[in-house]
Symmetry: C2
Subunit: 450 residues, 2 copies
């Protein structure tokens, strides 16, 4: 179904040159480590790139504000529509941190894109993350101490690990799991103790010390297909990543980002960015169709109620409700009329950890009429929260679309994508492009307020 668009991780441009020592990694494992909210646009599709968000991520990576000293690039708009030429999933060989390398090529005129690009862009909206069986556990003090091994949650062990032969006394087996760099780790899996429990013993401490894991960090076990186990980690303490500060000043970094994008935009040439999904919640490259749909569907106003997806402790997703309290530019001087986090919000519940007070248009799901308010708390409470099982079925965008504009009926999202499924009601992206008759979209891209 999604064969028209190259899947991330298997796209073109995967030569190991650029991207430093990062190694190309297994797609399922990468997604599991990146978290349930992350989906990379497919190579070949149209995306919108926000230099402001990019700058934010770099600043977050270095625990430094995107300083005011950075010169603004008058020729660089607050958003660039690009073709995503390649996207590669990578992992830092030292820290196992996952990140993606994306090669972008600005397009001066969206209507000149070829059919293939438009098709890929439409498919991007329907793209599904690989649905993998996995569990994610935050390590306890006992898990990381030298005194013992790893206590495997019962349900997780039964769901993910190969079944033990319970005729043995005690039941035990050897597990092999492959990490992001294709290194294989071997563990003794045993079912013992009083009461009985699943444990990883021999081999576990090597893994903990090898990855320098501490209590609070998380490990992920994925069952791939039916055979192999994959093994990923997520670190708790987001260290400032001082890295590179000995190479480049943060000023130069920020200028470098802007200048590289500006140069590429001026010449319609390619440039490369790195997206680090766990460094900060800055999804600064989003599918064009997602952006377009949000601009068309979400008629936002002050006081409007909305819901938004967040990641839970156990790597599942949960919706929180809030109210729009303002719509304004984050940085009216350098990024005038940018739609990057231009919506100020207040949340119903107190923040479990950090809750952003500014979000972008395409992140929210507006609730425009009282009778369309989703009974979120009740509904989610009824479903037991299983780690690794998300309540986002990846057709969320369609649900949203139908919920917020139910009068469009059921045919949306059901029919053949390439011919009928619409981003704008009754008109596919391809049809729309062929007509080239909707100046509003280009205007909104140029920075008009929503």
């Amino acid at each position: 179904m999604a064969s028209a668009a190259a899947a991330p991780g298997t796209s073109s441009g995967g030569a190991g040159g650029e991207g430093g020592g990062g190694t190309k990694v297994n797609q399922e494992l990468w997604y599991a480590c990146a978290g349930p909210l992350v989906t990379l646009p497919p190579a070949g599709s149209l995306v919108v790139y926000f230099p402001q968000g990019h700058s934010e991520q770099v600043a977050a990576s270095m625990r430094k504000d995107a300083g005011a000293k950075i010169p603004s690039y008058p020729n660089l708009p607050s958003k660039l529509v690009c073709i995503l030429r390649s996207v590669t999933m990578l992992a830092d060989p030292d820290t196992d941190e996952v990140y993606a390398r994306m090669t972008l090529q600005p397009v001066s005129n969206v209507t000149h894109c070829d059919k293939e690009t438009l098709l890929a862009s439409e498919l991007a909206l329907k793209q599904t993350r690989p649905q993998t069986e996995f569990f994610c556990k935050t390590l306890t003090a006992s898990d990381t101490s030298t005194h013992g091994g790893f206590s495997v949650p019962r349900r997780a062990a039964e769901r993910i690990f190969p079944h033990l032969d319970f005729s043995m006394q005690p039941p035990a087996q050897e597990l092999q799991a492959r990490d992001l760099h294709d290194a294989i780790w071997t563990f003794r899996h045993i079912y013992r103790g009083q009461p009985k429990r699943h444990l990883l013993t021999t081999g576990w401490s090597l893994f903990v010390s090898g990855k320098r894991l501490l209590a609070g960090d998380s490990v992920l076990f994925i069952r791939d297909g039916r055979q192999h186990l994959l093994l990923g980690i997520r670190r708790a303490n987001r260290q400032p990543v001082n890295l590179s500060s000995s190479v480049l000043s943060s000023d130069s970094m920020h200028i470098g980002i802007l200048a590289a994008a500006a140069h590429a935009a001026a010449n319609n040439s390619q440039f490369t960015v790195f997206y680090n999904p766990r460094a900060s919640p800055s999804e600064f490259v989003i599918p064009f169709a997602k952006y377009q749909k949000a601009v068309y569907s979400n008629q936002l106003s002050l006081g409007m109620r909305f819901r938004m997806m967040f990641e839970t402790e156990e790597s599942a997703t949960r919706r929180y409700m809030g109210t729009i309290t303002g719509i304004s530019d984050m940085d009216p001087v350098r990024w005038k009329n940018s739609q990057w986090r231009n919506i100020q919000v207040a949340w119903d519940e107190a923040a479990p950890s950090e809750r952003r007070t500014r979000v972008s248009l395409w992140e929210v799901e507006p609730v425009i009429a009282p009778f369309f308010i989703y009974p979120s708390p009740l509904f989610t409470a009824k479903r037991p929260r299983q780690p690794g099982i998300t309540d986002d079925d990846s057709s969320e965008m369609d649900n949203l679309f139908k919920r917020t504009m139910p009068w469009f009926g059921e045919e949306i999202g059901k029919k053949d994508l390439s011919t009928q499924n619409s981003l704008v009601p009754g008109l596919s992206l391809v049809q729309w492009m062929n007509k080239q008759q909707q100046p509003e979209l280009l205007n909104s891209l140029a920075g008009k307020p929503v």
Copy 2:
């Protein structure tokens, strides 16, 4: 004597903000780790900044060529004369790698500099590195294995460590040494075995594992004043420093460097660079007086014989002889008329490790007449090479000056610096600036061939 110029490491602008997690470090230790050839210009003095060399260093830090895709900045000259506003010695908290943060401010017209700046710039030439007693040992397999401790070279132990009480059986003591981050490491120093030798036992393995040292890496012990020991390391395997590749593309980095410098040059505003003395031999910020002196003194020509300083395995210095085989731009397109490594050379001896085939004007000591050829091999052979003892007495530049132009007599370098000591014969930098009558210098700065 050098009180007019602030010493590096104690200069202004030492706020910890910029520079990431690097910590400000002890000056002697920094220099010892940086190697015998490195001297940082003092804050407040005039320097020449070579963006080409800077780009080279960044490329070397990432094991990537300074690619051809980097756009050239027409407004950015191949060299910028700057005031060095601040210079801070730093060390990476993770790897202990030493580096310096320098804040530069381009000056549009050198002749407008105030007297203080010119004084500081003259003093820069006479600046001496701190002369410290230290030893440097490359770790063996035994030194780094878990099986035992550290075998201290006899001479080194006697010279650097506090003397043992030989009435004890065996003679032993507790040593405390402070590393770059002011962390204190404690070792048991014992003199035992058959034959007797100096060993560090208890505490050593903690240090090795803590710093993640491998056989081939080096450790340095410095005796500071008469009391404290300082402890530094130098890693052997120059790892590609993949760091930051997950943050910024190398293209963006290179563009960032150029754009930051160009922006600063256009506005006469400050910019910040990081100099990593051990990443690559790219001294891209050099004292203005050193540059000026080289331009005036070194009348180079094809076939000319010269000598040049290199670092030895034991952290001492040695001169190698060579012949000039060409004078041409490294990159005639992007860096036309740059003097950065514009001299092609051939070496008399085969390279012990790597010997550069392109060097810069100020790196060579020309030998212009046969009877002035220094009997280098014989001379250096007569002097035993003690680790930590350099044969550069830091008035080398003056020696060179006198050797290559002996007719200028002995008064050079002897009289009061601020009034008489000349960079140009018979004319101090201050006098020269006051007269403002030597357009050749500015021409040469603008890129005229030597």
